[in-house]
């Protein structure tokens, strides 16, 4: 019987379809990826079975396990307005805040600096801000301690401005704008009384509805 002779050639495969697919996937992931935004504080959110999605247009109040409070807002123009109001009110403790700081604040992400240190915080670069956030006491919200209740003012101006922004957008005919909401993103290990303090402050500023941010876990049967 004659042996079957296998042709001796390097097996070369046409890789075009695979490459096409790979680049298709790359394109898909590039377009869909939304990078996780910077976190000013490390917060491990608790699990829950709730499957309601986080709505758009939220002002997030971060509370870490030591009860430090940080705030994050989405809309840039609103951020600038809120900060301007705060700067005006705290002129005596935070002098020298000008247009430069307001512009920097509009894009600075979550923040937790007392007003007295705000200028210093905003003028720093990213690395210095990270170090600052690690050591920062958060936004002062205890009336019995020095610094007073800055959180109440932040919430007050934030609420007024996001509502105004929302009304403007709706009346100018923009569709699909969600109602502004306030979310609480707190660490599971935080004492509940610390959360309650923040909730009470918000309630005094007429915010009656909160979204507690959690991550999904399976519902037991």
């Amino acid at each position: 019987m004659p042996k079957i002779k296998l042709p001796r050639s390097s097996p070369s495969i046409d890789m075009t379809p695979m490459v096409d697919l790979a680049f298709l996937l790359v394109t898909f992931f590039i377009l869909t990826t939304k990078f996780r935004p910077d976190e000013a504080v490390k917060v491990t959110i608790p699990f829950s079975v709730s499957s309601t999605k986080l709505p758009e247009n939220v002002t997030t109040i971060d509370i870490d396990s030591n009860g430090r409070v940080f705030i994050d807002m989405d809309v840039k123009e609103v951020r600038a307005q809120i900060f301007q109001s705060m700067a005006d009110k705290y002129k005596s403790v935070a002098p020298g805040i000008g247009g430069n700081e307001v512009a920097r604040f509009a894009v600075c992400g979550p923040f937790g600096a007392p007003m007295a240190k705000m200028k210093e915080y905003l003028d720093d670069d990213d690395d210095a801000r990270k170090d600052f956030n690690k050591a920062s006491p958060g936004i002062p919200h205890d009336t019995t301690k020095p610094g007073g209740n800055e959180l109440a003012d932040w919430i007050h101006y934030a609420y007024a401005n996001v509502i105004q922004d929302y009304n403007q957008k709706v009346s100018s005919g923009l569709k699909g704008i969600e109602q502004p909401r306030f979310a609480i993103k707190a660490d599971g290990r935080t004492k509940y009384k610390d959360i309650k303090t923040v909730v009470d402050i918000c309630q005094k500023q007429n915010i009656q509805h909160f979204e507690l941010i959690t991550s999904l876990k399976a519902k037991p049967q």
Binding site: S12, D14, M15, V19, A22, F23, L25, V26, F29, I30, T32, T33, F35, R36, I45, P46, F47, S48, V49, S50, S51, T52, K53, L54, P55, I63, A183, I184, A186, D187, G188, R189, T190, K191, Y192, K193, D194, I195, K196, V199, D200, Q203, K204, Q208, H209, F210, E211, L212, I213, T214, S215, L216, K219, P220
Partner: protein
């Protein structure tokens, strides 16, 4: 690898190269591009998070106009007090204001799947759960429409015979405890609950319970 051509025919035509340039098919080595492509692909697959965070909606009772506590039968009011180390104390009805140990009806449980607070709520909320189970069966058999189902379910959960759970926290309770408890409300389909602080007498009773039962 992705070497497409360029080999093989290289040797044969060297002699004629000077006379006329033979038209080679323009083929490029694609290996680096493919490598880069897969590198990017891997990066994006690793970093993408598809699931957006989820939320629990919370509407705490208003400060200015605190709602009147509903008049409830003892068997319909379950008070749950969340405390340190994931402990859950609970009692039915109204608490006795005296500190006689025998009258202490506070009991202790936890968040475990079996025999925890969930089972307690389920036990006392059978009125609602039985009706919802029947309704679920009807819905599964397509005997009622989705909207009817949602409406009827809401009616059952809001019925005045439904269990009312009063969730209280002491100063040592953690946020995750509260989230867990709100979760239990969701799991047990209990829609009537309120979230408030524990009273002094309840704290005392909890301490008394701990002494009586050697709980640390």
């Amino acid at each position: 690898m992705a070497d497409v051509g360029s080999g093989g025919e290289g040797g044969g035509h060297g002699r004629h190269q000077k006379k006329r340039a033979k038209k080679l098919p323009t083929r490029i080595d694609m290996t680096p591009m493919v490598d880069l492509g897969f590198l990017l692909l891997t990066f994006f697959i690793m970093t993408t998070t598809f699931s957006k965070p989820k939320v629990i909606e919370l509407t705490p009772p208003s400060k200015e106009k605190p709602p009147k506590p509903p008049e409830l039968q003892d068997s319909l009011a379950l008070t749950v007090i969340l405390s340190a180390n994931d402990k859950v104390y609970y009692y039915m009805g109204v608490i006795d204001t005296s500190l006689i140990p025998d009258s202490n009806k506070i009991q202790l449980t936890n968040f475990s799947d079996k025999g925890g607070i969930r089972d307690i709520v389920i036990k006392h909320n059978s009125f609602v759960r039985n009706q919802i189970a029947a309704l679920d069966a009807q819905h599964a058999n397509k005997q009622i429409a989705d909207t009817t189902y949602a409406r009827k379910k809401g009616n059952i959960q809001g019925d005045k015979m439904a269990l009312f759970v009063i969730i209280k926290t002491d100063s040592a309770a953690k946020y995750s405890n509260v989230v867990n408890m709100l979760d239990e409300m969701d799991i047990t389909q209990c829609d009537k609950y309120a979230l408030i602080d524990a009273k002094e007498i309840e704290i005392l009773k909890m301490k008394q319970y701990n002494q009586l039962h050697n709980v640390k």
